[in-house]
């Protein structure tokens, strides 16, 4: 083919095929509602595409966020501490007058990889993932969360029947 004709044919080809893409882009520009919104705006009330108003509502039910511990059910079995692959949970217990106390329950959230293995092994569902995921702070030490301030007595171990039903 004549190089001059080829040259103009190439230009025509490019314009022709790009126009297909441009029609789609135009369609999205004019017709489709915007999909992205700036992140904190999601939390305010107002014109929202995603209906959530609070942090808890924008994540799904099984979301793995910050770990929380419920001391009314924690039996101090140390299973979560043993299971954690990166050793971010530190628990210390002390026995005094036949009652075991949890004197330390630290979770280093800055290291946590949110794998959920500790939640799975917990026999009483005391340690669970909350839906909190915003963890920005000025000092990394703030992320090592001490869940026990003063010693807490351990909860009673559930009897076998209860544990199986739960």
């Amino acid at each position: 083919m004549n190089p001059a004709i080829q040259y103009f044919k190439n230009i025509w080809d490019a314009i022709y095929t790009v126009s297909f893409g441009m029609i789609i882009t135009l369609k999205y520009w004019v017709k489709e509602p915007p999909i992205t919104i700036e992140y904190p705006d999601r939390l305010k009330k107002g014109p929202l595409i995603l209906s959530g108003n609070s942090l808890e509502e924008i994540v799904s039910d099984r979301f793995r966020g910050y770990l929380t511990v419920d001391f009314s059910t924690c039996i101090g079995c140390l299973q979560c501490m043993i299971t954690c692959p990166i050793d971010i949970i530190a628990i210390e217990t002390e026995k005094r007058d036949d009652v075991r106390f949890i004197t330390r329950f630290d979770i280093n959230q800055s290291k946590c990889m949110y794998c959920g293995l500790c939640v799975e092994v917990c026999p009483t569902d005391a340690i669970v993932h909350s839906k909190r995921f915003e963890g920005a702070c000025y000092d990394i030490k703030e992320l090592c969360i001490r869940h026990v301030e003063t010693a807490v007595p351990v909860a009673k171990r559930p009897s076998k029947g209860e544990a199986e039903s739960a």
């Binding site: 190439n10 080809d13 490019a14 022709y16 095929t17 790009v18 297909f20 893409g21 789609i24 882009t25 999909i35 994540v59 799904s60 039910d61 099984r62 979301f63 793995r64 299973q79 299971t83 954690c84 692959p85 990889m113 949110y114 794998c115 959920g116 293995l117 799975e120 092994v121 993932h129």
Partner: protein, 374 residues
Amino acid sequence: MAELVSQEMFLNMGPHHPSTHGVLRLIVQTDGEIMRRAVPDVGYLHRGIEKIAERVTYQGFMPYTDRIDYVSAFSGNLGYALTVERLAGIEVPEKAEYLRVIAAELARMGSHFIGFGAVLLDLGAVTPFVHALRERETYNDLMEMLCGARLTHNYARIGGVSHDLPEGFKEKTLKFIDHLEYEFIDEFNNLISFNSILVKRFANVGVVSAEKAIEYTLVGPNLRGSGVQFDLRRDDPYSIYDRFDFEIPVGKGKFGTVGDCYDRYWIRIQEIRESCRIIRQALEQMPEKGEIRTKIPKVFKPPKGEIYVRTECPRGEMGFYLISDGGKSPYRLKIRTGSFSAMSILEELSQGVMVADLVAIIGSFDIVAPEIDR
């Protein structure tokens, strides 16, 4: 007048280069705009995952397999879980097998969105990347519903999976794959795949013949792009892949030679269609009720022995070679990944191409840097 002196120039592409898909360094020897050689220098993302495996328990290593290939985290989960299960002879419940297949195929699609989206971004087309990422977002939402995490799923467990299907997951997934099959892929092809500028950038660039692909042990879509019909899901079925009916797309030289960049790109787009087919069949065949996890002891010690299990990941074959000495943690775990073998061919492929084409070649192999180094 003295003759002008010209010499070849060494340049570093990376480690921090946006189009190397992570931390990958290429030592590039150029003669003007023509490239003489590009030698990949891997190892910048080495995290010692294989060594970590020797220190943690068998169950405790599962979250680390997310991080081998973080773009499709579930594929690593599945490969590792299958390896330990085969070594210890653990049966997986029927429903868990289906859930695994669904999650694995979703992961494959999610990975391919990034795969072909990012290569287009490297070539300067920003819009298609955003379109692909929009679909990836839906995939992330689905996985969040299923297991609670958006990137590092940690969904598989030794002997099953961690969660059952949540309410509304099936409907949402069906809607998603309908949208992909009937709307997204055609629209995306019109948007960019048939664009003649893209075709000119991709066709006849970085041609890998079938013989050479086998010589360099390319795997997965990169191998199929060269026209070799080989897919572990069909040829060495693991899990329950033998129950599904799907095709294996191979490169046919759509706009140029067989095995060029366009073929590798085109394979990935077609694989999304096949993944949709598999998910549809799996959702239909899946039993409504059933166990999702075989109970294994908390202190899990598989018998002595060694095993090699390979699975078909979005980036090709991922193999786990596990040696057990009967203890709580593996004696040795070797992981073989698809991106690593794609690196080996780069040096030969880059000889004599333009510098701009190197970006297309790297992108078309769909490498993920953490997978190269582990």
